[in-house]
Amino acid sequence: MMGLTSPHLPWAPLLILLPLIGGMVCFVWPRTAKIIGLCSVFSVALLVAGLAWQILENGVYRHAVGGWRAPLGIDLYADGLTLLMLVATSMVGLGVSVYAAAYFQGEHSNRFWPLWLFLLAALNALFLSADIFNLYVTLELTGLAAVALAALTGGRDALSGAMRYLLAALLGSLAYLLGVALLYHGFGSVDIATLAARIEPTPVVWAALGLMSAGLLLKTALFPLHFWLPPAHASAPPPVSALLSALVVKASFYILLRLWLEFFAPLAGDKVGDLLGLLGAMAILWGSIQALRQTRLKLLIAYSTVAQLGYLFLAYPLTLATGVKAWNAVVYLALAHALAKAAMFLAAGNLLRFGGHDRIADLDRVVQRLPLTAAAFALAGVSIMGLPPSGGFVGKWLLLEVALVQGRWDLAAVMILGGLLAAAYIFKVLGHTFTQAAVTHEPRAVPFSMEWSAFLLALSAVLLGFMASPVLTLLGIGEPFGASEIGL
């Protein structure tokens, strides 16, 4: 069995190639789309397990595609952070795929699978990339696949939402590309490690970093650049909304995090970190309040994403003394949010299908009759609110701890307040689970697999609350956040 963990086995390249080929097959032979799609996603999950095993045995994975090393060739790189992002992608991907297999039929199914597999390939490639140009390419591919998915079912709302999304995505990656060009011009390399060694604070570098950050923040939908997110995420079909909210926004966040760790932070210093933290705090409050005001379920969930993304930025001003812990918290929050938010959108999709609408005030006509879906929504809600035991709680606990150690009362207060607001908007929905209203229409049955995939995703978000030690150990491989101080 030692052979399986050999450092030379090509798990990582396969993670990109397999869904890519799968997507093409789906595209050429639409009749096989569903089965090929499911097989590909399932295989990707196995490949991630293989990669995880490899990394656990041998440490950080580095692979030069075609034998060419940086700066000429393309490097694939995988440490603990990469691995966790891949795991989250494949878990959410599995859940959404099982759901989508029942949700999409006929023409929609034929269009969904190739796009989703392209998106999966692009996401995997993005997480495995080690140079800023490749990151650009994969980011662009991710964005395009995502926009196409958002527009999948047509319809006026979906198209206008997707159009806004397209403009934001293109603008974002364009800004990023400009920044990459400036850096390449200045330092003759796009490899992150090489750049980190050569970079110095000149006006050109400032411009480049500014452009790249702005582009990535736009794509991550950080307040006040979130304007495109709610319409796009709310109007897409539920499985697509789940992918967009759970994974796609995390992709640009991941790039920003990597760049920040490698060379933004030393150059940018406190001021920029404080600004990001401030924007994050405002995102939490604004997003939560907006979510609370919504009358439609999917818009509520979309605004909740805006709020939850804010938490990810609270770590930036906190990383000076206790860097590792703050970043651990952020990654944990991102994982928990990915699982919980996907579950939430899928559950909303079930309610939508069952009742034919997503008006929150009228939900009592549907929620009681789909207890498993209601349970999925509730469990996902527990993690989003950050109540124990859940992945969201672990992340919040760690972040709160760091904030208090550094005396950042403002940030701690925002976290607590954000949790309370989240409870308010989640129970705005759940309150209707227990009211008694007569069923006034003929409901549409929800397939077994759609209810269970939502429920299992939500359950895994809660169970993540018991996995802190193994997950954080995994995350520590390759020390993505620098040397860890005593006690993690």
């Binding site: 349970a375 527990v382 208090l404 309370l420 129970f427 309150g431 227990f434 018991f466 993690l488």
Partner: protein
């Protein structure tokens, strides 16, 4: 293999797993559900009995599971934990019997019993929690699992009561979380320790510790219904009677009071808390709550609301006993944890019987009800006299120790509070008893159900009679081993004031 490391976990699981299974049961599987409920309650009781015997002989039962880096999920069956666990296990069994009778033929019973089991799981978890984060975990689980029980009826009133409950308890939970994390950043440990783990901290932290104390007590005070954080409790009365009974006797309110005991004795340590000067204000707050709750109870015509305000008042006896900070008063406060539970659950069972059998919801409708339902009202009478503190019922023992303990540490004003409260208790309970036993019954009851020759269904009658007898026995046999009082002595000897 060391079984002692698993028994606390088993005690928690013995209601968790059946609860999860019950959720999945179809509505009409009545027999299976009933069997499962009762079997689980009996298994829990047996496990608790086993641990009681073991702890009495000096065994240790402790489960440790990894939760966060450096923080573990700890379930430890110390004397204090077992005191509360035993109360929960016994009353869970009786309340389950009662609920089966009460809810016969109503809707959504699988959901009800599922959350009911989760609620007990959370209570037992809180009791067994060996550190503050485990406590927090189960504390929040309790909030979540009680909410569906409060809104069970699904009416608009129920929804609003649930909403107000959530607003109060989530805010309380947030304060508790903040206090806990803050404490952790100062000490690096959250383990409940006899005499507390904070006295070693430098003088410069003392002002911070006072703030943390306020945060923790405010967070717990919401559930313990300390004035002015009690607003949710009277509203929560819309819940079905077995839920109110459990809420007031064991689950929510008691958990808050129990948490305060833990924080004062095993986080701060009572001597240290006294030296910080935080116990005096707490005692004052408890005294205000005692008087205020009684005064409000006086003016309620709705029977369950009157009992609810009475709970507000009675639970603060526990807090008062803790805050007086002397050994005897502590015993009085801690023993009231069980005594109040037995008496209050009796009263709520009886109130439920009156509502279910005769449709009586108001005190003014209770004329002559003693003749129609003698057993129920006899149990009610025992509970009511116990609340007033009449010997030989359990409540007397609590008040006696509280008063004695207060005098011991030279706080005579507490005796005045106790006397005043007893008078007020008499003022709102005696008219009920008088009306029930000595007034003429009306020609027709508001909404009568016939139950053959008995006054009401067996499942409804048995639990209050048993709890009333237990309350009586706890007072009569207070000096025998394994009586609540003797066990409270044991707690004081081993946990609070170890040599």
């Amino acid at each position: 293999m060391n079984w002692n490391a698993w028994i606390p976990l088993l005690v928690v699981a013995s209601s968790l797993l059946p609860g999860l299974f019950i959720f999945a049961l179809a509505e009409d599987r009545v027999r299976l559900r009933t069997t499962l409920n009762l079997a689980a309650a009996l298994v829990k009781l047996a496990l608790v009995g086993w641990m009681l015997w073991g702890v009495y002989q000096g065994q240790h039962y402790e489960t440790r599971l990894a939760l966060l880096p450096e923080l573990e999920l700890v379930l430890r069956a110390g004397p204090l934990a077992l005191f509360f666990v035993t109360l929960s296990a016994v009353l869970w069994l009786l309340t389950t019997v009662y609920a089966i009778g009460y809810l016969e033929g109503s809707l959504n019973r699988s959901r009800f019993f599922g959350f009911f089991s989760l609620c007990v799981t959370a209570t037992v978890g809180v009791a067994l929690a060996g550190n503050l984060i485990t406590f927090l975990l189960f504390y929040e689980l309790l909030t979540l699992s009680t909410y569906p029980l409060i809104v069970h009826r699904g009416t608009e009133v129920a929804r609003r009561a649930g909403q107000s409950y959530l607003i109060y308890t989530f805010c309380g939970g947030a304060l508790l979380l903040l206090g806990t994390v803050w404490l952790y950043t100062l000490t690096g440990t959250l383990e409940f320790t006899p005499r507390g783990f904070l006295s070693g901290l430098d003088e410069e932290y003392h002002s911070v510790l006072i703030i943390i104390f306020v945060l923790l007590i405010a967070g717990l005070g919401v559930k313990a219904a300390l004035v002015p954080l009690h607003g949710w409790l009277p509203q929560a009365m819309v819940a079905p009677a077995p839920v109110s009974a459990l809420l007031h006797a064991v689950a929510v309110v008691k958990v808050g009071a129990f948490g305060i005991v833990r924080v004062v004795y095993e986080v701060f340590g009572v001597e240290f808390a006294a030296s910080l000067g935080v116990t005096k204000p707490l005692a004052l707050l408890a005294a205000i709550t005692i008087i205020y709750g009684s005064l409000r109870a006086l003016f309620q015509d709705d029977l369950k609301r009157r009992l609810a305000f009475s709970t507000v008042s009675q639970v603060s006896y526990i807090v008062l006993g803790v805050a007086i900070a002397g050994p005897v008063a502590t015993i009085g406060g801690v023993v009231h944890l069980v005594h109040q539970g037995l008496m209050k659950i009796t009263l709520f069972f009886c109130a439920g019987n009156l509502a279910e059998t005769l449709g009586i919801h108001k005190v003014s409708e209770m004329n002559g009800v003693g003749r129609r339902m003698p057993w129920t009202m006899a149990a009610f009478t025992v509970g009511a006299f116990g609340m007033m503190g009449a010997p030989p019922i359990a409540g007397f023992i609590s008040k006696w120790h509280l008063g004695l303990g207060a005098l011991e540490v030279g706080q005579g004003w507490v005796v005045l509070v106790l006397a005043g409260s007893s008078l007020l208790n008499a003022a709102y309970f005696l008219p009920i008893l008088h009306a029930a036993w000595f007034r003429q019954p009306p020609n027709a009851w508001p909404q009568e159900h016939a139950y053959g020759r008995q006054e009401t269904a067996w499942a409804l009658l048995l639990p209050p009679v048993v709890t009333a007898l237990l309350a009586l026995a706890a007072g009569l046999f207070a000096l025998l081993p394994f009586s609540p009082l003797e066990w409270a002595n044991l707690i004081a000897r081993r946990e609070f004031y170890p040599l």
